[in-house]
């Protein structure tokens, strides 16, 4: 039965996340926007709380780590399932309504954890449980064309030897481990790209510097150098076989799980702007009327209606992608649709809210200007707007990457 309201069973989780975001993240939001590279120690307590909730089962999938797909087949005919993926996008959106940068800095909730959850076998999933993992894909010369990475991993006895330079590693300095993408053989192309878990302190891995950024300053973004860095061969996530037929699919499967999460971040950040702007507009006497035509209301109200419609669209596309994952339907297309829409809508909304609020929005006395800086990265990392459009176009048109470059 078609019902697109938030699932009943996750409403307490959503409301709980909202309370945490409001009472724990918002009060320190500006502080860590100013103190770039300072570690938000307040988050340790929060992470411990979330761990506690997870263990008690009260917070099914309340974070990035919860996106592992349930492999046990369900009984057919039991109807649609609402699981960890939906719970994750709902709670992450609420946390990012609080602060995107702080959410990204949450211990054990990094995108590397999503990668482990998505690709690891059972033994690895168990071994890396509780490990806070960052994700290292991008290189100085390789961004969106991640099949082109030059970091290498060479098997030497029981160990892989990793060499290369990675940039834009979120939580690269703080995490317990880094999931690094490297190629086993550059001549074999994308099929040879594998991901490796490198624990912090492994000789040969060092943080070279931290970036100064436009937004999400609470989150540290590291450049990491690998020089003859040795990890046990069991730290290669998934299968070590180079399956040319399967190609890039193994590593890229991570993105089907993480893109809805990033879309959720954009939705949360945009909602923060919408909520405050609506309040400010109402204080100024502009009330949004859902029944009257937008064009007979003020231009501000009309703009707000357009933004809210776009926001709702992005949110539903994101819930759809997560719902499909929960029901074990392939969702690459829908995940990219969600991220494309949420990414561009996130920028439009947060920037337009600054414009609507004038110098009040532009000033650091309010958070509107911060949200409009934080939102920009969400249309870039885990696949830019253009990469999402490319993926959607290839799927809709049935074209290969050789045909539609």
């Amino acid at each position: 039965m078609i019902n697109l309201d938030d699932p009943k069973k996750f409403r307490p989780l959503r409301d709980q996340a909202h309370q945490v975001a409001m009472n724990m993240l918002r009060p320190i939001s500006r502080k860590y926007d100013k103190a770039e590279h300072a570690y938000p120690t307040e988050l340790d307590m929060l992470a411990a709380m979330i761990d506690g909730l997870s263990e008690s089962g009260a917070a099914e999938g309340a974070g990035a780590a919860g996106v592992r797909r349930d492999e046990t087949p369900e009984e057919k005919g039991a109807g649609a399932k609402n699981g960890a993926n939906l719970a994750s996008v709902m709670s992450i959106a609420e946390m990012c309504w609080g602060d995107v940068g702080l959410l990204l800095s949450m211990p054990r909730q990094g995108l590397g954890n999503s990668a482990i959850a998505s690709v690891a076998d059972d033994e690895q999933a168990k071994r890396f449980e509780g490990v806070w993992a960052g994700m290292a894909i991008t290189e100085p010369g390789t961004g969106s064309d991640s099949a082109n990475i030059s970091t290498t991993a060479v098997l030497d006895g029981d160990e892989y030897v990793i060499n290369g330079e990675k940039i834009y590693v979120t939580s690269g300095d703080r995490a317990d481990a880094i999931v690094v993408w490297a190629t086993l053989d550059r001549d074999l192309g994308r099929a040879a790209i594998k991901s490796f878990v490198v624990p912090k302190g492994t000789p040969g891995m060092r943080v070279d510097r931290l970036e100064h950024k436009l937004g999400i300053k609470a989150s540290d973004t590291a450049t990491i150098i690998f020089e003859d860095c040795r990890v046990p061969k069991e730290n290669l996530l998934g299968s070590p076989d180079v399956d040319v037929k399967q190609g890039f699919a193994g590593a890229m499967a991570t993105f089907d799980n993480t893109r809805p999460l990033v879309a959720a971040m954009a939705i949360g950040c945009a909602k923060a702007s919408l909520d405050l702007t609506r309040d400010l507009l109402e204080q100024a006497g502009v009330v949004i009327d859902y029944d009257r035509p937008a064009l007979t209301q003020s231009a501000a109200a009309a703009k707000f209606l357009q933004m809210e419609a776009d926001w709702e669209a992005a949110r539903l596309l994101t819930l759809q992608a997560a719902w499909m994952a929960d029901n074990r339907e392939p969702n690459s297309l829908e995940a990219s649709m969600a991220k494309a829409k949420a990414g561009r809508v996130g920028s439009d909304i947060t920037l337009s809210c600054v414009e609507l609020a004038g110098t009040l929005g532009y000033s650091e006395t309010e958070l509107l200007e911060k949200w409009s800086r934080d939102s920009k990265i969400l249309d870039i990392f885990e696949g830019t707007q253009q990469i999402q459009q490319l993926i959607v176009a290839r799927r809709v048109l049935g074209l290969s990457s050789a045909e539609l470059k």
């Binding site: 039965m1 078609i2 019902n3 697109l4 309201d5 938030d6 699932p7 009943k8 069973k9 109807g79 649609a80 399932k81 609402n82 939906l86 859902y290 029944d291 009257r292 035509p293 937008a294 064009l295 007979t296 209606l305 357009q306 809210e308 419609a309 776009d310 709702e312 669209a313 992005a314 539903l316 596309l317 819930l319 759809q320 719902w323 829908e334 649709m337 494309a340 829409k341 253009q386 459009q389 490319l390 959607v392 176009a393 290839r394 809709v396 048109l397 049935g398 074209l399 045909e403 539609l404 470059k405």
Partner: protein
């Protein structure tokens, strides 16, 4: 021409032919205008210089042909005016986020999709040209049960619970065939559904038997008015109370199959609130005037003029406090959203193979990102439109407040739906501009979304 205006005012060009009132003529302008008048004058015809080929019958393809409304069948009065009518219960969703239609809904969609593919789409071009839905198409739509989709089972319909989702899915599937024909086929159902939702026992027993029988009457939900910045919630059509009923005056527009309709639901302001009135087509004081638009032409749209239309006291449909009217407006907007989604899907289905087959510079144009990204954005926004529409429909069916959701769906469908129509033509280039391909019709049809009020309802 308005004879009350002074001569200088009449010589001014503004106010006609799409000219703003600020336009002025210079001497050359006057000379050209005079020449133009002569060219248009029937003097030429009287002296035999031009063939007279005027059709003196009502024709829906031209603006301004006037006629009396159709003499309707005798609706036999029955039932109690005081008793509320039969109501179907709201759906009871189990609180799970779910995009899967119910089994019955899916079966219905499959049937309607086949009908849209095999009957509706092939008839669309001619229906657009002639501004009329072919009789066989309308007959077939009755067989599927379109008019009784929202009529309670107890009254001979097929609805066991609130059918807003089923209605939405059906409207979408039909519009994938053709929006104009979808509107023509769904219009009687809009009136029947309104009777099912808000009619008294007497109104249901008087009118619904005609809709559940074999000879389903044309009927129209008339909410729009031809006014700039029209707000459906404040119609300028008025209803005045009399000793034993009401008198209605005003002008409604976009009235589907107005010349054939036997029953209208008309929106008018009563004591400061918008209210729905049931008006039989034989009521004195009614006249229709053909009023075709840029698109949705198969719906034979007309203006309905009401001059001192006297109605009995039981002509009010639903509440007089504006609540029924507001719900009607929302449910109608929901149906238009569904039509936009269906038509948008038709565009996507059409341009996808086209851009892969059409070659330029030695390869399919789809191999260029500027082309491929337009298709991607159509797919993304279309799915977004669909999800917003379904969310509103689900809430409407469950009896929840859906005013916010339908407003957002309408906003997105109006903006992105038009964009899809625009890009559909652009992707075909010059071929999109000519009638050899249907994309120009979808362009015209999609402009209706966000403009239209009433006509359809789920």
């Amino acid at each position: 021409m308005d004879l009350t205006k002074s001569l200088p005012a009449r010589l001014r060009p503004g106010g006609r032919h799409g000219l703003a009132g600020t336009e002025v003529r210079d001497p050359i302008g006057y000379a050209v205008a005079a020449l133009g008048k002569l060219a248009q004058s029937d003097l030429l015809d009287r002296v035999g210089l031009r063939k007279q080929a005027e059709q003196a019958v009502y024709t829906a393809t031209r603006t301004g042909f006037q006629a009396a409304t159709r003499a309707n069948r005798a609706f036999t009065r029955s039932g109690s005016r005081q008793q509320p009518g039969v109501r179907v219960p709201a759906t009871a969703p189990r609180g799970v986020f779910d995009l899967t239609p119910g089994e019955d809904e899916q079966m219905l969609v499959d049937v309607v999709t086949e009908f849209a593919d095999e009957v509706v789409r092939p008839a669309a071009t001619e229906a657009d040209e002639t501004c009329a839905a072919p009789e066989p198409v309308l007959k077939a739509s009755l067989e599927i049960g379109l008019p009784i989709l929202g009529v309670p089972e107890a009254l001979g319909g097929i609805s066991e619970e609130r059918s807003a989702v089923a209605g939405t899915l059906v409207a979408e599937a039909l519009a994938r065939g053709d929006m104009g024909l979808a509107v023509a086929a769904l219009a009687p159902g809009a009136v029947a559904t309104a009777l099912g939702l808000w009619g008294t026992e007497a109104q249901q027993q008087t009118y619904l038997p005609a809709f559940t029988g074999d000879e389903v009457p044309a009927a129209a939900l008339a909410l729009s008015e031809p006014a700039v910045l029209f707000d459906a919630l404040t119609p300028s059509t008025t209803a005045r109370r009399t000793a034993d009923g009401f008198v209605l005056d005003g002008l409604k527009s976009a009235v589907v199959r107005g010349a054939e309709a036997e029953l209208f639901v008309v929106g008018a302001e009563l004591d400061g609130n918008p209210v729905l009135f049931l008006v039989e087509s034989s009521t004195p004081g009614l006249s229709v005037e053909s009023d075709p638009g840029m698109g949705v032409r198969a719906a034979s749209m007309a203006r309905l003029r009401l001059e001192g239309v006297t109605l009995p006291a039981d002509a009010v449909l639903g509440e007089t406090d504006g609540s029924t009217y507001a719900e009607c407006v929302r449910l109608s907007r929901l149906a238009w959203c569904a039509l936009a989604v269906g038509t948008g899907q038709a565009v996507l289905d059409y341009v996808t193979p086209y851009v892969k087959e059409r070659e330029a510079f030695g390869e399919p144009v789809a191999h260029r990102q500027s082309v491929a990204f337009m298709v991607a954005d159509i797919a993304i926004e279309l799915q977004a439109m669909r999800l917003l529409t379904y969310k509103a429909a689900g809430r409407a069916a469950a009896g929840k407040d859906f005013s916010r959701e339908v407003a957002l769906a309408r906003r997105l469908c109006a903006e992105k739906g038009m964009r899809i129509g625009l890009d559909g033509v652009q992707l075909l280039g010059g071929h999109g501009f000519v009638k050899e391909h249907p994309v120009e019709r979808w362009y015209r049809d999609l402009r209706a979304v966000g403009v239209m009020e009433g006509a359809v309802l789920v």
